[in-house]
């Protein structure tokens, strides 16, 4: 026997046992996430038990937890999302169309692209400070819905752009060629061929971006979303509050009853998010592979 063969100990049993042990270790790492999710859900439902009722949904904030409600927060959240969507969706899709269909590959283009990826990673509180400086002060919009909505729009813009780009990229080149062969201009091709085909993918991204915006708290703190307002905003220049801000305010108080209504607010917020995400998954499944059939 040569020395090399002598030092070869396959030790199959031991190695297989080790493999099995680690398989379970790796598997249980995934259980941690599931476990936390379950504990979180149970904890929040238990905390909010008995507090979540019609009165809670239809009342204004109050110094007394049993009379407090989230009506202005719900209106504020809905209005804020409308402004965010009106701003971020057209701008994001237009930017994505430009980057994918029009721009020539260049140093400048890759710079814009890198910039977009990095914008997505900037802390949301920094966006809040940007909003405070640019919208609240420079443009003099005050601590208003409009200032908050535009700030939130800037925050989700990178998400909208990147997902729209992916959706456009997934449209088969043959469709574009067919349109050009029929004499369509560039814009006609984009408008009547690329966009309809990329729409479901874009929609999924938009819903995900908006569900991120609904849950964001930090960027609205510098903007100055109030927590104690007695009126429902009537115009985009009115002051406002939103669900996460209201939840934050109640959670940061030491009394148990305020924590309980914070939990009730969380249940409402999570319910909205679950609806939005189900819609996104439904759209994704419904339209998956539709382009292939064409």
């Amino acid at each position: 026997m040569s020395p090399q063969e002598e030092s070869f100990f396959p030790n199959l049993e031991g190695r297989k046992r080790l493999d099995l042990i680690f398989k379970w270790i790796f598997f249980s790492a995934n259980l941690v996430g599931l476990l936390v999710l379950l504990v979180l859900a149970v904890k929040i439902v238990l905390d909010s038990w008995g507090w979540l009722d019609v009165q809670f949904i239809t009342s204004f904030p109050s110094r007394f937890p049993e009379k407090a409600g989230i009506l202005p927060a719900i209106y504020g959240t809905v209005y804020l999302m409308i402004i965010t969507a009106l701003f971020a969706i057209p701008t994001g899709i237009a930017a994505a169309i430009f980057l994918e269909e029009y721009a020539k590959k260049s140093k400048f283009l890759s710079l814009i692209q890198i910039n977009i990826y990095n914008l997505a990673g900037i802390p949301s509180i920094v966006y809040g400070i940007l909003g405070l400086t640019v919208f609240v002060r420079w443009l003099n919009l005050g601590r208003s819905l409009l200032a908050g909505g535009l700030t939130m729009g800037l925050l989700v813009l990178p998400v909208v752009i990147v997902t729209a780009q992916e959706a456009i990229r997934a449209v088969p080149e043959s469709l574009r060629h067919a349109a050009y062969a029929l004499g369509a201009t560039k814009w006609q091709t984009v408008r009547y061929v690329v966009l309809p085909s990329a729409l479901p993918g874009m929609l999924t991204g938009i819903i995900l971006a908006l569900s991120r915006a609904i849950g964001e708290t930090a960027p609205l703190i510098p903007i100055g979303a109030l927590t104690f307002i007695r009126t429902i905003p009537k115009s985009p220049l009115d002051s406002f509050t939103v669900l996460p801000i209201q939840i934050y305010n109640w959670t940061s108080r030491p009394q148990d009853d305020f924590r309980a209504i914070a939990a009730a607010g969380i249940v409402v917020l999570l319910a909205v998010l679950i609806c939005m995400n189900s819609a996104a998954i439904f759209l994704r499944n419904k339209y998956q592979g539709r382009t292939k059939e064409l």
């Binding site: 995934n30 941690v32 904890k43 930017a95 430009f98 920094v126 004499g183 998010l273």
Partner: protein, 296 residues
């Protein structure tokens, strides 16, 4: 039919509009830098660079006030390191399981759980840290402060698991199947394939996922604002109340520091530091992820 001049002009207009939308993203970056810079410059007229970067006390409300950012940076790092200690092993293990072990059916079950975890608003995690994790820690170690770095760090770590898991898994999935098959043909077990072949081949993508998660932890706000406290302190003790950079920004913004005051400007100085730390981390992380994507 020949294209008329009107058609041509229309096409041109549309292209310009689209280009404007795309350049808005550059404008946002410029806006962030300019808006941070203006007030930060004002701050440094009143506080020296030396005090800000080398001072070890952060006490804007005392007189005389001290503006040494070290305690805020230390608080941020303490929470971030705890978060990484939780999320790196769990996220990586989860990615290895998903990419090397999990049968297809199970993958389809596990992935949505991770997606839900990633979609939970941070304010909800903050609530969870303050009302569940903190009492749990205090039950084990009674002298723990109500606000502490450990609770915030653990919950932040859980929040980061999906990010590390999915980015690392992408990197591992990109390793060519032929490499794995070659190792299996030599008699390697799955574990050996994972740590001798797949992880070394995907290491840059895995490291990038750690960097991006780190950056996310540094900038995370609501969890620390609720659970980590508001006492800027140079300490390594995770059971004490501390304050992070983001926590300080929230504290001042919720108060009524008048516009133009030194306290107000100090927020911009802290935000500038935060911005440059996260920006550099993201630049490095994204660069690795993208270069890596092009290789395979």
């Amino acid at each position: 039919m020949a294209k008329s001049g009107k058609d041509f002009r229309r096409e041109r207009c549309i292209q310009i509009l689209l280009a404007l939308a795309a350049s808005l993203s550059v404008l946002v970056t410029a806006g962030i830098i300019v808006s941070l810079f203006e007030e930060t410059a004002g701050f440094f007229k009143e506080v020296s660079f030396k005090e800000f970067f080398t001072g070890t006390r952060w006490s804007p409300l005392f007189s005389p006030p001290h503006y040494g950012i070290a305690p805020l940076v230390a608080g941020t790092m303490l929470v971030t390191i705890i978060a990484m200690a939780v999320s790196v092993p769990l996220g990586l293990a989860s990615a290895i399981y998903l990419s090397e072990y999990a049968p297809d059916g199970l993958r389809r079950l596990v992935k949505p759980v991770l997606e839900i975890l990633a979609g939970i608003p941070t304010i909800v995690y903050g609530y969870f840290a303050l009302t569940f994790v903190t009492p749990a820690i205090r039950a084990v170690i009674p002298h723990t402060n109500v606000f502490n770095a450990l609770s915030a760090g653990i919950v932040m770590g859980i929040m980061l698991i999906p990010m590390i898991s999915s980015l690392s898994e992408d990197a591992m999935m990109a390793v060519p199947q032929s490499l794995r098959e070659a190792a299996y043909a030599l008699g390697a077990t799955r574990l050996e394939v994972a740590y001798k072949v797949v992880i070394p081949a995907a290491i840059s993508g895995i490291v990038a996922s750690f960097i991006l998660a780190f950056s996310r932890a540094v900038g995370e706000t609501m969890i620390v604002a609720l659970a980590a406290g508001s006492t800027p302190k140079l300490t390594l003790n995770p059971l004490e109340s501390i304050q992070t950079m983001t926590g300080y920004i929230v504290q001042v913004m919720l108060g009524d520091a008048p516009f133009g005051s030194i306290e107000y400007k100090s927020v911009y100085a802290v935000a500038s530091v935060l911005f440059f730390i996260t920006l550099s981390l993201n630049l490095v992380g994204n660069r690795i992820v993208r270069r890596y994507k092009e290789v395979y």
